[in-house]
Amino acid sequence: MNLKELTHSEVRMCEGHRLCAGCAEPIIARQVLMATDKPVIVANATGCFEVSTTIYPFSSWNVPWIHTAFENAPATMSGVEAAYKSLKRQGKLDQEIKFVAFGGDGATYDIGFQSLSGAIERGHDFMYVCFNNEAYMNTGIQRSGATQMGAATTTCPAGSCIPGKREFPKDLTKIVIAHDLPYAAQASPHNWKDLISKAKKGFDTPGPAFLNVISPCPRGWRHDGSKTIAISKLAVETCIWPLYEFENGKWSLTGESLRIAEGTREKRPVLDWLNSQGRFKHLTKGKFTSVADDIQKNIDAKWEQLQKLCKM
């Protein structure tokens, strides 16, 4: 895989969508859709990505695409895949088709979690990609189960008594891995090679695959739109969002995370991450700086645990 070849790949999601400048979602989606030469059918949960790419009567989609509701992209995709299997078995269809569902963290960690778990347990042959921007951005930056501790959102603001979100996010990737599915991974759009190779594995693996991708949101995270890629890289370098994969029962670190574990790359302090975004600014000075220490301790403990799982 090289960049030059990738630039010649089919344009499956085209320009003209209404996502914000600097939004990571279309960057991630394009990388994912570059990862297979096979025909693709896309399902989407309700969210920024859905509303911004399909304002009727316009559509950014050059491939078949379906959205039905917020909490059910995995179920909707299960239905499409079930129809494909049935028609193929009956000899009414012969082409090989890949299925991918996109959803934000609200659709994935929270309201659509049951649907995701059910579709994975049933073993549908599809890949689910979560754009994790760590809050409900489409409705105006409300807290989700993926929101980082200490982050300010409109439903967990940086108040004078309570400094943003009080809980750590749930570790959804590990919860999904507990389903013992064939393939799951965490990725980041700054490392396109890592992300695309993981998406390729997800597409090529028979059965369900899950990709959880950190997705900076300039509006919700309070950073300049030009910093999206730099901030997604920082998420990996601080180990708040390690790159790893779970492939047929084996855990492996990848990209910068592997190099940090091997000692050839520096693990940066979480303060670098917190300082890069306005949603954490109340933690970097004043009476709530101890929250930053708690976050660092949590990152360190989880990083240790992950390295053990990856036999580092």
Binding site: E50, T54, Y56, P64, T68, A69, S78, G79, A83, G118
Partner: protein, 387 residues
């Protein structure tokens, strides 16, 4: 014709599905629907159908799977009841708006609370405005026949709307009755092969399903659904006529029984319609001019047919096996609307009855006729409740 046999309503529906051989079935178990999916699972696991059967983890997902499968370009069936239908509520509207011709069997059961597994029509009434065609069956034979008819209505190119066929929970779902299926060849000829419209699986014509429609387009999309519903009225009539040709069983959108010279009429849906014919026979034997009307097609509501049957009557009682607290039942509103502008329209009163599976005894229905004859003008009445 197939052989005569004794089965319950749920099994009859599963047998219809087996003959239809849908491409995809996705469902979640709920009493009193469960026998349908259990029986159908046997056909799947014994290799008697080509169906991809998806055991969903909830009713919300079951209908989401059906919408995805239907949009993909396959023939789809499902079944539910009560809380399951309520849990599908969001997806009912989406299935209708996306014009996915899914056929769903409803084993009518009340809604919690208190939790209760028995029959009334509260579940189906909650789906009344969702844009689904709704057909009510009276007995096991109709449970089967309506299933076949429903696919033809749903898939008709002028309709393309999801369709639900309702039967009374336990009273029909679990009761053994004599029934006569068609042979499989007749069924398959009657339905014909499934014709997909812009299926997702058509890679040459990539289609965007379920885009966001702003105020500049949303209303027109909903209007198209209203037009399709109007078409469904005519299409249902035509399909029922065609069904009569292949089965010998004549159905209409609303069936009148002894209404021609009747002065007093009771209107009902579901299994109560059968009890009412018995009551009418008894009272006719005593010289009472009574008749009854069974509503088979509830959405779209056949208002003109209803008006024709009720014209010239002295008084009418509408039986609602569901209630809208604060007003009468939904069927009552529809019957009243059917009579607007009629000269000398009959007095129409409402009886809410049989909630949560409360037994409906012939004597009680005789009592309703007697109320009408006595001139009861109380608009909303509750039959058989302890006050």
């Amino acid at each position: 014709m197939g052989e005569k046999m004794a089965v319950n309503g749920d099994t009859a529906i599963a047998m219809a599905w087996k003959q239809i051989n849908p491409d995809v079935v996705a469902a979640y178990p709920i009493t009193p629907q469960t026998i349908i999916v259990e029986a159908f699972s046997d056909y799947v696991h014994d290799g008697e159908v080509d169906t991809e059967y998806v055991c969903a983890e909830s009713e919300h997902s079951a209908l989401s799977i059906c919408v995805g499968a239907s949009a993909a370009g396959s023939r789809v069936a499902t079944a539910t009841a009560s809380a399951g239908l309520a849990f599908m509520w969001e997806m009912l509207y989406i299935a209708a708006s996306m014009r996915t011709p899914i056929v769903m069997a409803i084993a009518n059961r009340t809604l919690s609370g208190p939790i209760n597994i028995h029959c009334d029509h509260s579940d189906a009434m909650g789906a009344r405005d969702s844009g689904w065609v709704q057909i009510f069956g009276e007995n096991v034979q109709e449970a089967y026949d309506n299933t076949l008819i429903a696919f033809r209505i749903a898939e008709h190119m002028k309709v393309r709307l999801p369709t639900m066929t309702c039967i009374d929970g336990f009273i029909i779902t679990h009761a053994l009755e004599r029934f006569e299926p068609l042979d499989v060849e007749t069924v398959r000829n009657f339905l014909g092969p499934y014709q997909a419209v812009r299926p997702l699986l058509d890679l040459k014509n990539p289609t965007t399903y379920g885009p966001i429609a702003m105020p500049d387009y949303y209303f027109e999309i909903k209007y198209q659904q209203a037009v399709a519903m109007e078409e469904a009225l005519k299409v249902t009539r035509d399909v029922m006529a065609e069904f009569a040709e292949v089965s010998g069983r004549k159905y209409d959108l609303v069936d009148g029984y002894q209404v021609d010279d009747a002065e007093y009429v009771i209107v009902a849906m579901g299994s109560t319609a059968g009890t009412l014919r018995y009551v009418v026979d008894q009272m006719r034997a005593d010289g009472k001019k009574v008749g009854t009307v069974k509503v088979r097609l509830f959405r779209p509501f056949p208002m003109e047919d209803m008006a024709k049957l009720l014209k010239g009557k002295k008084a009418v009682a509408v039986m609602d096996r569901a209630m809208s607290p604060g007003t009468g039942g939904a069927l009552y509103s529809d019957v009243l609307q059917s009579l607007v502008g009629m000269d000398d329209a009959p007095l129409v009163i409402n009886y809410v009855y049989g909630l949560g599976g409360r037994d409906v005894m012939p004597g009680q229905l005789t009592g309703v006729f007697e109320d009408l004859i006595k001139g009861n003008e109380n608009r909303i009445n509750y039959m058989g409740v302890r006050k």
